[in-house]
Structure formats: structure tokens, C-alpha cells
């Protein structure tokens, strides 16, 4: 049995993918069971109560599950991993924004001892990015630099647009805009200013020119060590108007992680902002048409000692669905690999160390996610 904890936007994509591609039983674990009753009925899933703030409830909810996909926010990664250890089930999450990833890796021995597996950062990025980097690394004797770049374009038409079009969790975005991004330079991790390095970069058509910026991301916590690259950076591009709005909020003090007194209550400014932004009306699409390119550029020396550069792209065309499918699909694929005993290790692993790239890319192909190596499609 595969469990999904958290049935938000990404959790629902995972649920949908499992419904399409997995014949076994799926369990939805949520705080408010009524919120997923219709979905569970539609996809013939079981619903259990579980609250990430209540570890006992998680252990109960995880009973008899082979694997749990954690799709709640990354601040709960450790709590959910510990509940998996108690409930004897394997674990997958969508990333830990560098700092959480570092902490999660420390649970390696505990998972190993119980012969359980945790795969951390198994969405699009981290996730697809790590597997692509791992694939590309085979062409190198020595890697000098790995650059991760993400750009997207929304060609959708909308009945009603939202005042803030965030492609993924607004909480994560606010954190990404506020926390100093880690960059691995000459064998050392340094932290640069948030939103720095915003320079024009030309992605292949139809995404075109974008301005990706350094962002705190999990890849930097594992890739430099596992693929032995001297330099690793991660950049993602947002629309100018989106960046402008978040920067405005940042400049006037709305994204700081500190408390403020409102009448008789003390609240955290960043948390409150996130909760307010979550209340904004969602866009109502007429026709969804989004395109994302996840690019990994690896440079270094090949086995003959020559300079080499490999460019890997994951190209995600999403017509009548959102590009977020690239985050929801990988944990579904990998959970099925675990259930089908295609992965047999134990411990805590990032994707680059444990996922069979060929099998994984083949599964992505079935979902119209295409992988290119130096412009040649490889799945």
C-alpha cells in the first residue's frame, strides 16, 4: 500500500498519477477527512486521519503502508520520517530546501538499522534534476561545474487571473526569496544574497529568455559530494512582475521571520503573510498551456582528458494540466519502484544515488516528460 500525506496541489497530482499507473491500494492521510472524500471516491482510495503536528496520529495512519509519500511542507520532513521509522514504512519527500535536507541525511543509520529506505527530494527539482545530473556525470572523469537552471512560460488563457501566480507553494517561494541561497564554489559552500545572480539566460524555445536567480535548494546539499563536482549552483526564473511583487513585500518588511504584536496576539510575520497570500483567489483557466524546462549543464573533462560539456533538459509541456505535474509524477513513479522491489537499498538517499535513470526516464516518457541530452531525446 502507498500512502500520501498531504493532499494539496501536489498531493492531488500524485494521487492522480497513482490512480492512472498503479493497481495497488492507495491511502490518503489528511487532517480533515471530508476535504478528500470526493477525490478518494473518484480514485477508489482509503482515507485516514493524520496530522503532521501529532506524531502518534501519523504512526497510526502509516500502519501497513509500504511507502509514505510526504507532500506536506518541508518543515515537517523530520517528523514524518520519524513516524515512518516507528511505523516501519519507507519514505519519499519532495525536498528539504537545503537546510532540512542536511538534517534528514543524519537519519541514515536509523533507516539502515530498520532496513527501511528514505528517498529525499524526489519531485521535479530536487528530483528529476538529481537523476539527470547523475545520468550526465557518467560522461565525465572529472566534473568542474554543474549548473541547474529552471525556466517556464505560461501560455494559458484565463477566465480570471490571480493577483499572484505562483507555480508552487507560496510558503516555499517566500522562503526561497528570503533565505540565503547556497552555492558550491571551488569545493566550498558559500551563501549568497537572496534573489542575486538574476541575469538573462536563453532557454530553448518556447520558454526563451528568462532571468533565473540563485535560490536555496536541496541539490547543493548532496550533488557536490555525490557527483564530485567542484562547483554547483541552482537558479530558477520567475516572471518579472512576480519577482517585483515579492520584492516589494520583502522591502517593506513582510517576509521577515520574526514575531510582531497585533493587539493582544503575537504572530510570526512570514507565517501570517503566507496565510494571507494563500487566501488569494486562484486563477480560473480557460485553457491551460504551460511549458517548463529543467536544465542541467555539466562541464569538466571526459575520460580522454578533453574539455566536455553536456546539457540535459527535461521538457515538460502541459496542455490541460499544470507544469506542476513534474513535481507530482516522480514520487508516484518512485513509490511504485519501491513497492515493486525495483529499489532494494536501505538508509537515507538523495535521488542521484539510488534511482535507475533509464527506468525513471522511461516512466517520465509515459507522462509526456521528455529528457534531452545535448538536444537529442533520450526517453
Amino acid at each position: 500500500m502507498i500512502g500520501i500525506i498531504g493532499l494539496g496541489a501536489i498531493g492531488r497530482i500524485i494521487a492522480s498519477d497513482l490512480h492512472k499507473f498503479y493497481n495497488g491500494k492507495v491511502v490518503y492521510i489528511v487532517r480533515d477527512k471530508s476535504s478528500v472524500n470526493n477525490l478518494a471516491k473518484k480514485f477508489n482510495a482509503e482515507v485516514r486521519f493524520g496530522d503532521v503536528n501529532d506524531p502518534d496520529s501519523l504512526v497510526n495512519a502509516f500502519k501497513n503502508l509500504k511507502v509514505v509519500i510526504h507532500a506536506v511542507h518541508h518543515e515537517y520532513n523530520i517528523a514524518v520520517m520519524k513516524a515512518c521509522l516507528k511505523a516501519d514504512c519507507n519514505y519519499i519527500d519532495l525536498g528539504g530546501l537545503y537546510h532540512f535536507t542536511k538534517k534528514q541525511l543524519k537519519l541514515f543509520n536509523r533507516f539502515k538499522k530498520k532496513n527501511l529506505l528514505a528517498i529525499i527530494g524526489m519531485g521535479a527539482s530536487p528530483g528529476i534534476t538529481n537523476v539527470m545530473a547523475s545520468y550526465g556525470s557518467r560522461f565525465f572523469k572529472e566534473i568542474n561545474n554543474i549548473q541547474f537552471l529552471i525556466g517556464s512560460e505560461d501560455f494559458s488563457t484565463y477566465k480570471k487571473e490571480s493577483p499572484l501566480t505562483n507555480l508552487y507553494s507560496i510558503q516555499t517561494i517566500i522562503e526561497e526569496f528570503s533565505w540565503k541561497p547556497a552555492v558550491f564554489v571551488d569545493g566550498k559552500t558559500i551563501f549568497v544574497e537572496p534573489i542575486s545572480g538574476r541575469e538573462e539566460y536563453k532557454f530553448p524555445s518556447p520558454v526563451g529568455s528568462k532571468k533565473p536567480q540563485f535560490t536555496i535548494h536541496s541539490e547543493i546539499a548532496t550533488i557536490p559530494y555525490n557527483l564530485k563536482s567542484k562547483n554547483v549552483s541552482f537558479k530558477i526564473a520567475f516572471d518579472d512582475s512576480f519577482v517585483d511583487k515579492i520584492l516589494t513585500l520583502k522591502r517593506i518588511g513582510f517576509t521577515v521571520d520574526k514575531d510582531i504584536k497585533i493587539k493582544d496576539n503575537k504572530v510570526n510575520i512570514m507565517d501570517t503573510l503566507v496565510n494571507i497570500l494563500k487566501k488569494l483567489p486562484r486563477p480560473i483557466p480557460k485553457k491551460l498551456n504551460q511549458y517548463e524546462i529543467i536544465r542541467v549543464i555539466i562541464s569538466g573533462f571526459d575520460y580522454y582528458g578533453y574539455d566536455k560539456q553536456v546539457i540535459l533538459d527535461a521538457r515538460i509541456e502541459s496542455i490541460n494540466e499544470t507544469v506542476n505535474k513534474d513535481t507530482g509524477v516522480p514520487p508516484s513513479i518512485v513509490s511504485q519502484m519501491i513497492v515493486n522491489n525495483l529499489i532494494n537499498k536501505s538508509g537515507v538517499f538523495p535521488p542521484e544515488l539510488i534511482i535507475n535513470d533509464k527506468l525513471f526516464f522511461d516512466e517520465l516518457f509515459k507522462r509526456n516528460i521528455f529528457i534531452f541530452c545535448n538536444d537529442r531525446r533520450i526517453n
Partner: protein, 382 residues
């Protein structure tokens, strides 16, 4: 101590400015509010005392006013509570001045006209900069004309450092920028699109400004008092510097101006309260200065000839009032009008507005003492 004035909302920005001005003018002032800590410096003054007042409790507010011995109340609380304060003043038998109620509240406030007249008390609505200074300037201009056809008015401001500083009450700004403005056209009130862009104008001392049509109470009171002079049109526009307008628009677009509640850790927080407190927690940049131009253009006839009179009042950040920027023109204006009433230079009763009863020359003279200069057709007159 028997007080000359009670200032309600004395712990807010405008209340602080008004209280400081009254105290510096030698009056005894009871400062009322909810957060004594904010005005501890003002309370060092020998003629100042603090009382905790929540104006939602009308009976207690009236009791505090009666015990103060003052006959004049300056209402500097949020405009949505104006009626509460008026009721407390009526109960206490004292005169009332406020900073304006935009159109909707102003109409409600006029319903108390007979009640105050019966007690021979005055309610002077909109005694800040605009409404306030703008109304007295209009009175001055209209007084020179035989008939009035049209009045355009508004304000524009800018700062030397282009960083965002909340220009005035966020509640008022949100209301103004999200409520469909009412203009007077051909003698009739007409609604137009929310905060619609009216173009660019060049304002003395401020420079080029984008101006937006917003809701304001002057449209209503000018019609009330000047229609017998033939007034057919009134349009109100606000000018914000681009850097400020952009931030305000972002806040509103992203729901941060909402009066809805959001649940945070078991507590219900009103979004606009959160926004206000976060904005208040930002420090002004060092050496930050503002300039504001409150202007009125009155178009009419004198001796059969067309005549246009343009009035402007220029306010700059004042030494000792750096915390307030150009907002001193609001808090100081209500203080001046209260003093004019105290000294019997205003003699009206009932609910009225400054354009009916505030003596222009004396008022402009007091503005000048505070370095707020009034221009009539480009000539400084105070």
C-alpha cells in the same frame, strides 16, 4: 487639572501631532487612547495627562470627556468610529471636530445636525489637510466669485528618498483606493471606476505626478454649501509618487488591505491590523523628508467674466515633527481649528464643514506660523 481640549486617538500619528501642537500653543490637553507607551514623550509636558479610552464604549468615553472639564473634543480615531465619538460628545455636551469621514460616513454624520443644534454645539467635519485646509482655501476662493461652476481639488506629495513610507492611515488609503469615487457632474453625483487614472499633473514643489480619481468628502460638502452659487461639478484627485503608489497597489492587490480575518495559530488576526503593524515597524530612512501640495482650482464668474482661482498649500517636513513627514498638515490643521473655536473665532452650531465657518485669513496666518504656506494664483498670501 481642568483641560481645554480632549484629544481622542492621541496615540495615533495625527492625534500625536494635534496634541503636540496644542501643548506647544500653551493649552491643557487630555490625551486619550489605548497605547500610552507611544506618547510617553508628550506626557512629560506639564499640561498633558493620559486617560485610557476605547471609543467603542460610548458611555465611558462621555464620562472621561465630562471629567476633563474640556468643552472641545478633537476626534483623531479611525473614521469608522466617528459616530461613536459624536454620540459621546453629544452625551457630554461638548463640541466636536474630526479629520473627515469620506463620503459615506460624512452623510451619516449630518443626520446628527438637529441634535447638536438643540444643544448649541458644533460638529466640525473634516478639519485636517484635505478635507480641512482644502475646504478653507475653497471658501476663500469662492468668496471672491459671484458664481461657481466647477471645483477640482486634490493633493500630491513626494519624498526626497524614494523608499516606501506609509503616507497616512492605511485604512483610509485602502478605502480611498478601493471605493468607487463619487464626482459631481452637471449637478448630479455620479459613480466612476475605482481609483481611475486621470493623467499627469505638475504640482508646485512636488513636480510631475500621476493623479487618480478617489472618493473624498469634499465632493459632498461643496455641493451642499456651494450649489446655491451654481456649482455643477466637483472632482477629487490624489497624487502619489510612483514608488509609493506601486507599493500601495501591491498591498491591496495581494489582499493585505482586507478587513477579513486570517487564522494564525488559533488566533484570528484582522489582515489590515497586521499590515498596519508591519508597516509601522519599518523605520523611516535617515534624513527622509516629504513635501505635499494640497490644491483647489475654483472656476466661476466675477462681474460677468470667467475667472479661475487656484489655491495651493505647501507643507514640508518640519523640524521637531520628523516622525510625521508632511502629515503635519492634518494634525496641525485640526489643532488650529480647535483653537479658533476655543477663542470664539468660529461661532457655528450643528453639523457643518470648514468651508462654512472657519475664518480664512486667521487660519492661513496660523498655518504660516507652522511653515505651511498658502498660494493664490501663484502668489503667497500668508
Amino acid at each position: 487639572m481642568k483641560f481645554d481640549f480632549v484629544v481622542l486617538g492621541a496615540t495615533g500619528d495625527q492625534g500625536m501631532i494635534a496634541s503636540k501642537d496644542l501643548l506647544e500653543s500653551g493649552y491643557k490637553v487630555l490625551l486619550c487612547g489605548r497605547n500610552k507607551y507611544r506618547i510617553k514623550q508628550l506626557l512629560r509636558h506639564k499640561n498633558a495627562k493620559f486617560d485610557y479610552v476605547n471609543v467603542r464604549d460610548i458611555n465611558n468615553t462621555a464620562k472621561v470627556i465630562i471629567n476633563s472639564g474640556a468643552k472641545i473634543v478633537l476626534n483623531c480615531v479611525e473614521l469608522r468610529l466617528n459616530i461613536n465619538v459624536m454620540k459621546a460628545c453629544l452625551k457630554a455636551g461638548v463640541n466636536y471636530l474630526d479629520l473627515g469621514g469620506l463620503q459615506e460616513m460624512t452623510i451619516q454624520q449630518y443626520k446628527f445636525d438637529n441634535d447638536f443644534k438643540k444643544k448649541k454645539l458644533l460638529v466640525l467635519l473634516g478639519c485636517g489637510s484635505t478635507p480641512g485646509i482644502a475646504n478653507v482655501m475653497t471658501r476663500h476662493a469662492v468668496g471672491q466669485l459671484d458664481s461657481v461652476d466647477h471645483i477640482d481639488l486634490g493633493f500630491g506629495w513626494d519624498s526626497n528618498i524614494k523608499e516606501f513610507v506609509i503616507p497616512y492611515s492605511i485604512e483610509s488609503i485602502v478605502y480611498e483606493l478601493t471605493t468607487a469615487p463619487v464626482a459631481l457632474e452637471n449637478g448630479k453625483f455620479v459613480n466612476s471606476k475605482v481609483c481611475y487614472y486621470k493623467g499627469v499633473t505638475n504640482l508646485r514643489e512636488v513636480g510631475m505626478q500621476n493623479i487618480y480619481c478617489i472618493v473624498h468628502s469634499e465632493v459632498f460638502t461643496f455641493h451642499k454649501y456651494f450649489r446655491n452659487k451654481g456649482l455643477k461639478g466637483v472632482h477629487y484627485t490624489a497624487g502619489f509618487p510612483e514608488h509609493s503608489h506601486k507599493v500601495l497597489k501591491t498591498l491591496i492587490d495581494l489582499g493585505l488591505g482586507s478587513s477579513d480575518f486570517v487564522k494564525i495559530g488559533g488566533n484570528e488576526i484582522k489582515i489590515i491590523d497586521f499590515t498596519r503593524e508591519v508597516l509601522k515597524s519599518n523605520k523611516k530612512p535617515k534624513d527622509y523628508k516629504e513635501v505635499e501640495n494640497v490644491w483647489v482650482k475654483v472656476i466661476g464668474k466675477r462681474l460677468g467674466n470667467n475667472k479661475t482661482i487656484t489655491m495651493e498649500c505647501i507643507t514640508k517636513t518640519l523640524s521637531g515633527y520628523e516622525f510625521a513627514g508632511s502629515n503635519i498638515n492634518t494634525g496641525m490643521s485640526i489643532s488650529i481649528m480647535a483653537q479658533l473655536l476655543f477663542n470664539s473665532l468660529i461661532n457655528s452650531i450643528g453639523v457643518t464643514a470648514p468651508e462654512t465657518c472657519v475664518p480664512c485669513i486667521e487660519f492661513f496666518k496660523e498655518l504660516s506660523k507652522r511653515r505651511m504656506f498658502v498660494y493664490e494664483n501663484n502668489k503667497k498670501i500668508n
